[in-house]
Amino acid sequence: MTAPVEAGRPVPRLGATPPPALASAPQQRRGDYAGFASRFIAFGFDCVLSIGLFELVLAASSYAASVLTGTAIHWSKGDQWVIPAFFIWEFLYFAHFWATSGRTPGMIILGIRVVGQDGNRVGTRRGLVRTLAFPLSLLLLGLGFLGILFRPDRRALHDVIAGTAVVYAWDAREAGLRSLARESSSRRR
């Protein structure tokens, strides 16, 4: 299968899951559909980061409001407006990263990225639709995520709705070579 090319730049090839026999060997994984564990860990990392940033913004705005009004203000999660603000913040966080680069910080660390189902860039529209459809997968008692485990293209419900897929943007073989280079350089030292 030839990889689609977008604006002269190679786009990840959308391939099938490699045979289990090859799974442990270092190999070219770029463009293969990303699995559940990688996606789940990346999502967990993004949750920690986005919540941490939100808490930080909340604390900063509490301090700024205290300075401006002269009275001690402490906004906590119990406040009425904080919850909708939190959801808006989460929406902005994921929508921004998915629509612009297809990679949240968690996805960058785990070496995965969101692409269109045709292998092209996600784009703003698909990025926004994916972000809006994402809570659906959660609200259906997590059943929307089962597609990652059971579908051959490892697409969750929100991927199907938005016409996206998540692929590996990281090459295990390159990582293996880097590791070899490091080993040989440390041996030389």
């Binding site: 899951t17 490699p18 289990p20 799974a23 442990s24 994984r29 990303a34 699995g35 559940f36 564990a37 990688s38 860990i41 660390i109 785990l110 070496g111 485990l149 059971f150 590996y168 990281w170 295990a172 990582a175 880097r178 590791s179 280079a181 490091r182 350089s185």
Partner: protein, 166 residues
Amino acid sequence: MAQGVAQLVIDPVVESLDLNALIARVDVNQVVDRVDMNAVLDRVDLNGVLDRVDMNGVLDRVDLNPVLDRVDLNPVLDHLDMNKLLANVDINELLGRIDIETLVKDTDIGELLASSSRTVASEAVDLGRSHAVSMDDTLARWVSRLRRRRNAPTVPTDSPTAQEQS
């Protein structure tokens, strides 16, 4: 007196000789064959000759490009024993002559060193990713095993029950 007589005789004889015609009749190759070149060369002081030659002047007048074009270097290189050659090279001395600063400045080696330090920083990330990918594959294997078990026919197709059903 004899010398005077000889001079009187020889001079007119030499003058009357057609030297060109004489040389034309000489087989030079035969003469050269008779000459013991080694004995001649033994008597020549080659170092003295070479000392008097301006080699730079000679080389300036030689166009080496057409000469090199005609040289097939492959057989020359085939004859070279590189190991022997390299054994004579003092690598440390050679490296000592290299201006490392200029080398790093003028080449991509600096970039290479910087990227290698970046890769050191990414070692943990690579390791984490490898673990995540192997977990992905383990999960995929479990799921495919589960699906195979589910899709497997409960009654073998060649059993009597299956034949009755068909």
